[in-house]
Amino acid sequence: MNIYWQSFRTFFKIGMFTLGGGYAMIPIIEAEVVDKHKWVSKEVFLDLIAIAQSCPGVFAINISTFIGYKLRKTPGAIACALGTALPSFIIILLIAMFFHRFQDNPVVASIFRGIRPAVVALIAVPTFRLAQSAKITWSNCWIPIACALAIWMFGVSPILIILIAGLCGWVYGAVIKPTE
C-alpha cells in the first residue's frame, strides 16, 4: 500500500478515536507507529515526545508531522498532519452547524448551565498538575501567580507573557546561572 495513504489513514484513525486531547494520544500513537508499523524505534519516539512537548502548537500535530517527515520528508509530514487534524475538523464542523440551532432550547440551555462550571474546574485541574511537573515550589511560585494576575487583572496579552518568560529564561541561563 502507498505509504502516504497508509500514514494518513493511521493518523486519521488516531485522531478519530482518541478522546481527551493530546496526551491521551501518546499510548495510541505509540502502539500504531512503534509497535505495529515500526516507523520509528522506541528510543526515537521518546525523544520525539520530549521535542514535541517543548515546541509550541498542538501536541498531536507536532508528533505526526515529525513522524511523517521521517517517513517521506515534507509531503509525508503534510499527509500525517492532515490525517490527525481532519477527523476533529469534520466532527466539530458538523456539531457547530447543528448546535447553534439548539442553543436556545430550554433543555439544552439548562444542560449547559450545569456543564459550564464543570469546564472551568477541568481547566483549573491541569494548572496544578502542570505546576508539579514544572517544579513550582514556594520559592518560585510568584512567577505563575504574577503571570496569572497580569493577564487576569491588567489584561496583559498571554503571548507577551510567553515572550517575556522565554527572554527571562535566556537571560537567567546566560547571566545569572553561571555566577551561582
Binding site: V58, A96, R113, T127, Y172
Partner: protein, 191 residues
C-alpha cells in the same frame, strides 16, 4: 476582513501556544473573547466543553469551532462560517508544520543546547500562570451566575465546580464523565 484576522490570530496562537491544549486555551480565549470580541465568555466555555467531549486534540477542536462561531456571529451565512473554521484550523496547524519540519531537518541538535534549555526553563512557570489565568477569566457571572442575580444557580454552579475539581484531581474521574454528570445535574436542578 474577518478571514485575515482569523488567520493572523490563529497563526499567532499556533506559534506561541506552549504547554499543550490547555495552555493554548488561555491564548485562544484572550484573542477571541477579550481582544476581538468575536464571542461571549459563555459561548467560549460551551466551545471548550464540546471540544473536550469530542475526539481529537482540544486545540484543533476549539480552533475549528471558534472559526465557525466568529464568522457566524459576524452575521455571515453557513458557507462563510465553514470557510472561517477552515481558515482558523489551517492557521493553527501551519506554524507546527513549518517548525517541526525545520526541527527535524536542521535544529534537532540545537534542542539540547543550554540556551534552548534555559529558554524552556523560563517558559514553564509562565505556562502554569497562563493556565491559572484561563481559569480565573472563566469565573464570570455568565458561567456561574451571581448570588444577587440567581442565588440558586450560583450555589449549584459553585458546587458543580468544586465537585468536578475534586473528582478529577483527587479521585481521577474521567473528565468526560464529569461533564456528562454536570450536564445531567444542570437539567435536573437548573431547568
Amino acid at each position: 476582513m474577518i478571514f485575515f484576522q482569523l488567520f493572523y490570530t490563529f497563526f499567532q496562537i499556533g506559534l506561541f501556544g506552549f504547554g499543550g491544549g490547555y495552555g493554548m486555551l488561555s491564548l485562544i480565549q484572550g484573542e477571541v473573547v477579550h481582544h476581538w470580541s468575536w464571542m461571549s465568555t459563555s459561548e467560549f466555555t460551551d466551545i471548550v466543553a464540546i471540544s473536550q467531549m469530542t475526539p481529537g486534540p482540544i486545540g484543533i477542536n476549539s480552533a475549528t469551532y471558534c472559526g465557525y462561531t466568529a464568522v457566524h456571529n459576524a452575521g455571515y451565512g453557513e458557507a462563510m462560517s465553514v470557510m472561517g473554521s477552515c481558515v482558523a484550523t489551517f492557521a493553527l496547524v501551519l506554524p507546527s508544520l513549518i517548525l517541526m519540519i525545520l526541527i527535524s531537518k536542521l535544529f534537532i541538535k540545537y534542542m539540547k543546547t543550554p540556551v534552548v534549555q534555559a529558554i524552556f526553563t523560563g517558559l514553564r512557570p509562565a505556562v502554569v500562570g497562563l493556565l491559572a489565568a484561563a481559569t480565573l477569566l472563566l469565573c464570570t457571572k455568565e458561567n456561574f451566575s451571581a448570588p444577587s442575580e440567581n442565588a440558586w444557580q450560583f450555589w449549584v454552579s459553585v458546587f458543580l465546580f468544586v465537585a468536578t475539581f475534586i473528582g478529577t484531581l483527587v479521585f481521577k474521574i474521567n473528565p468526560i464523565k464529569m461533564i456528562i454528570m454536570s450536564g445531567f445535574a444542570g437539567l435536573l436542578l437548573l431547568y
